[in-house]
């Protein structure tokens, strides 16, 4: 692919105006944006759109909050019976390591 200049992507082929990212496109590329895998040209369009759109800024912030909250999901305790049976298995292993 031929290298593109720093400004080529900014232009619509038709009317030489800034090709804005629509909200509907933004919500579909937001994961690529957060993953850092969005192509540079789209990243610039993404951020240019954010600068002018409160709805999309809120949307992005919601995604960030969601990811943080997901990280605070706690585990789920195992049943006491499972724990007991694991400890019994441990003792068998300790006493005869080859024959669990």
């Amino acid at each position: 692919m031929a290298p593109i200049s720093d400004t080529d992507w900014l232009m619509n082929k038709d009317d030489d105006t800034l090709q804005e990212m629509a909200c509907q496109e933004l919500v579909e590329v937001i994961t690529e944006y957060l993953e850092g895998t969005l192509p540079e040209s789209d990243r610039v369009r993404f951020e240019a759109h954010l600068a002018t759109c409160a709805g999309c800024r809120e949307y992005l912030e919601q995604m960030r909050v969601l990811i943080r909250l997901s990280g605070s999901l706690t585990g789920k305790s195992i049943e006491p019976g499972t724990r007991d049976s694991l400890l019994r298995a441990f003792r068998r292993w300790r006493d005869a390591p080859t024959g669990l």
Partner: protein, 216 residues
């Protein structure tokens, strides 16, 4: 019985004690890591009793494999890898499961946000822009008064995601695995991993939006 204080016990020491048959070390590991392991197992198998079995099999594999643990990864990473392998095998045995490398219809081509939230493509000024912008909740979701309930809504939402999305979101966002490790563990391409993460997160965001819209 010796008391193990987590912060003062290195993992190498813990493993060493486990190898020597120290029950307190094993108990500490089981009590510390089983809840996370079960959360992860539930992402794969969805039936609680089966998840218990997968966690149990993981610990038995730890005992039989402890001699092979070389300490190149953390204990937690090692445990999660064993569990992931067990859970995958288990999940594959359950009917209706497809390999993670193949996206199911529910994983693709579903918009992140319903099209009726946007202006139509032929709108003269703002095609594809919000007609109904997101209900704002990002500022309140983490406030102490609501966070516990929000997390409960999120947990239920996560459990009701399609399996592939649930596993990827659990590994990435709940347990914080980097993308390349998820791809390797599930034999997923980077692109498909991202699609699953995107669909899962988008759905969860929508779940929270509905919750906050009803609540406020």
């Amino acid at each position: 019985m010796a008391v193990i204080a987590a912060k003062h016990t290195s993992e190498a020491e813990l493993i060493d004690r486990l190898r020597r048959g120290d029950e307190a070390a094993f108990t500490w590991l089981v009590d510390t890591y089983s809840p996370s392991l079960k959360r992860l197992a539930l992402a794969f198998v969805s039936v609680d009793a089966v998840a218990e079995e997968v966690v149990q099999e993981t610990w038995l594999a730890v005992l039989t494999g402890i001699g092979r643990f070389e300490g190149r990864s953390s204990v937690k990473t090692w445990l999660f890898k064993i569990l992931t392998n067990r859970a995958k095998t288990r999940g594959a045995r359950e009917k209706r499961t497809v390999p993670f490398s193949e996206l199911e219809p529910e994983d693709r081509d579903v918009p992140a946000v319903s099209p009726d939230r946007f202006l139509p493509p032929d709108h003269p000024n703002f095609p594809g822009h919000w007609s109904t912008p997101p209900h704002p909740w990002s500022g309140v979701a983490e406030q102490a008064a609501v966070q516990r309930e929000t997390i409960e809504v999120l947990r239920r939402g996560l459990e009701s995601l399609p399996r592939s999305q649930r596993v990827v979101v659990t590994l990435r966002d709940v347990h914080g695995w980097p993308a390349h490790e998820v791809c390797a563990a599930l034999a997923l391409s980077e692109a498909n991993q991202r699609v699953l993460l995107h669909r899962g997160r988008s759905r969860l965001r929508s779940t929270l939006e509905i919750y906050f819209a009803e609540d406020m």
